[in-house]
């Protein structure tokens, strides 16, 4: 056997072992999802059978209707989409806006803000949530979405940092050239630099989506009326009260997981690019 075939065989063995390993891991990654779907389809009381059943007919799709109507999930989904939708538009724009300022200009203020951003990336931010709560209480804005959404309109340190890295890597010549052509900086930002940062924007959108879609703390603190609950606390409270209807809880969990998975399927191509271009920082 010559050296070349030997190497080929070695390579093949390596690839096979890797694939088997990844397949085993994949099963572990997928099983909880499959289990959730399977047990969301069993009849009333059947989730308490032993041994556990996996995708045994008949399927009770009505559990999804029960979750939507009895558990009010139709309302919570609408609320979650409103919150997440606004956050996903505001956050990328606000963070990119600030990041553009940090990347294209150089003066004392820019240097100070950059320093603060870098410091806040490393130092854990501490503190109580009560000062913000009291501030919103004094403004009479409790039990509205404003306390939850307002921060998204002003930019978040981590995303500002991510966008700044991206803008820094783009040439400054575009800015100078567009300026000479008489464009104003806001126009330059919106029409030239923002479209070039698409991949990083996708990372910010996906991050914001999963942050707001999953947000439990915000509504827990600020929202008191049931009609304004989002999915996270809707499911949290249902989990405490509906222990006897496990199949409905599973259907609710599937309802809550589905949009994250769908949006990731759409954005994942950009997402991988974006992580690479941002120098891969968690």
């Amino acid at each position: 056997m010559n050296r070349r075939t030997k190497n080929l065989i070695k390579e093949l063995i390596k690839k096979t072992i890797s694939t088997l390993l990844l397949a085993a891991g994949c099963i572990l990654m997928i099983l909880p999802f499959m289990w959730a779907i399977s047990s969301s389809l069993v009849g009333r009381g059947q989730s308490f059978t032993y041994p556990p059943q996996f995708f045994a007919a008949p399927y009770y799709w009505s559990n999804y209707a029960t979750a939507m109507n009895e558990l009010n999930f139709a309302v919570y989904i609408k609320n979650s989409f409103i919150l997440t939708g606004i956050a996903c538009i505001a956050e990328p724009l606000a963070s990119a806006f600030a990041a553009f300022g940090l990347s294209r200009y150089d003066n004392k203020m820019v240097r100070i803000v950059t320093g603060v951003v870098l410091a806040l990336m490393v130092i854990p931010v501490a503190g109580s949530r009560v000062p913000s709560y009291v501030m919103w209480k004094n403004m009479g804005l409790l039990d509205t979405y404003i306390p939850i959404l307002a921060p998204y309109f002003l930019g978040t340190v981590f995303y500002v940092y991510l966008m700044r890295q991206n803008f820094k890597s783009l040439p400054g010549d575009f800015y100078e050239a567009a300026l000479i052509d008489g464009c104003n900086p806001v126009y330059i930002f919106l029409r030239i630099y923002l479209p070039l940062a698409k991949a990083t924007l996708a990372v910010v959108v996906l991050g914001t989506f999963s942050h707001e879609w999953n947000d439990m703390m915000g509504p827990l603190i600020y929202i008191t009326s049931k009609s304004k609950y989002n999915l996270a606390i809707g499911l949290l409270y249902a989990k405490g009260n509906y222990t006897h209807r496990q199949e409905v809880l599973m259907a609710s969990s599937v309802i809550m997981m589905a949009p994250s998975i769908i949006i990731y399927a759409f954005l994942q191509k950009y997402f991988v690019q974006g992580l690479a271009s941002a120098g891969v920082k968690g």
């Binding site: 289990w35 501490a126 009560v130 309109f153 930019g155 999915l231």
Partner: protein, 292 residues
């Protein structure tokens, strides 16, 4: 560059600066003040000096919370980084299916905590859950989160965090591995290094910067853990004193028991502990982290 246009920087930065002042620094400064006050939100804060700290420090609940979060961090972080390295090595074999695996492994990271916890409550059910059913073939069983042993409960929660987080860490680790130049590995081949020697003597040292970064981020996350403990063990009501973590305890002090001073004091205690760990980590960086 663009010196005369520097005034435009004000336009771009003002919203962000306002945001940082209002949502980061203002709460931070007031938290310092509240930590020294008796305050229940409805009446004005009353200065009590170090009384809050004097109450927190000897309280066993405080130390149980920190014990739990340390046990959580120490079981979840090393296992997760270890698994991420194995999966990343497997992904790094120039497989054609890499895109598919990357999508699958990343999925759990995106799914909401509360939904994940609802599903795992069923998976972990001691009486009729599928995990115990599977274990029964080997003559094993566990009570998982219903156990009376706090360590079993905490590690059950670590396992969920590992499941949820290992995919994203694998992707970061893979990026670091792809940055290792093939020259170095070929040179080692010529010198006759075996695969094990290559892994420990060459790949590992070159991966240490990424491991360091992941450690730094994971510790921050592990000490601040809230969602999984609150959903799994509280379910909208309080968490048992034996099983609480600092994040949950702080939330309960602030918004359930209305003892804001204790909550604020707790947040600074956590800040101090995380700060000390971060300093130790950064100091130890030059000892084991290898930069090219």
């Amino acid at each position: 560059m663009s010196k005369k246009h520097a005034r435009w920087s004000w336009l771009f930065l003002t919203p962000f600066i306002i945001g940082m002042l209002v949502f980061t620094f203002y709460p931070m400064i007031f938290s310092v003040y509240y930590a020294f006050c008796d305050y229940n939100i409805f009446n004005p804060p009353k200065w009590v000096g170090l009384a809050n700290f004097a109450r927190l420090l000897p309280d066993p609940a405080t130390w149980k919370a920190y014990r739990n979060s340390f046990a959580f961090a120490l079981t979840y972080i090393p296992v997760q980084i270890f698994l991420a390295m194995i999966f990343a090595s497997a992904l790094n074999q120039k497989l054609k299916t890499i895109g598919f695996w990357r999508v699958i492994y990343y999925l759990p990271s995106l799914t909401p905590w509360v939904a994940v916890c609802t599903v795992f409550t069923v998976l972990y059910n001691p009486a009729y859950g599928p995990i115990n059913y599977f274990l029964s073939f080997f003559g094993l069983r566990s009570e998982f989160i219903d156990s009376t042993n706090w360590f079993v409960v905490v590690t059950s929660l670590s396992a969920i965090s590992i499941w949820k987080g290992v995919g994203s860490q694998t992707i970061y680790m893979l990026a670091a591995m792809q940055n290792i130049s093939s020259d170095v590995l070929e040179a080692a081949d010529i010198d006759g290094a075996g695969p094990i020697a290559k892994f420990f003597k060459i790949k590992m040292p070159l991966l240490t910067p990424m491991i360091f970064l992941l450690l730094l981020l994971s510790i921050k996350g592990a000490v601040g853990v809230f969602d999984s403990f609150y959903t799994m063990l509280g379910g909208g009501t309080g968490v048992n004193e034996n099983l609480t973590v600092p994040g949950v305890l702080q939330y309960e002090y602030e918004f359930v028991f209305r003892k804001v001073g204790l909550g604020a004091a707790m947040s600074w205690l956590t800040f101090a502990i995380v700060g000390i760990i971060t300093i130790i980590q950064t100091k130890s960086e030059e000892k084991w982290v290898h930069y090219e």
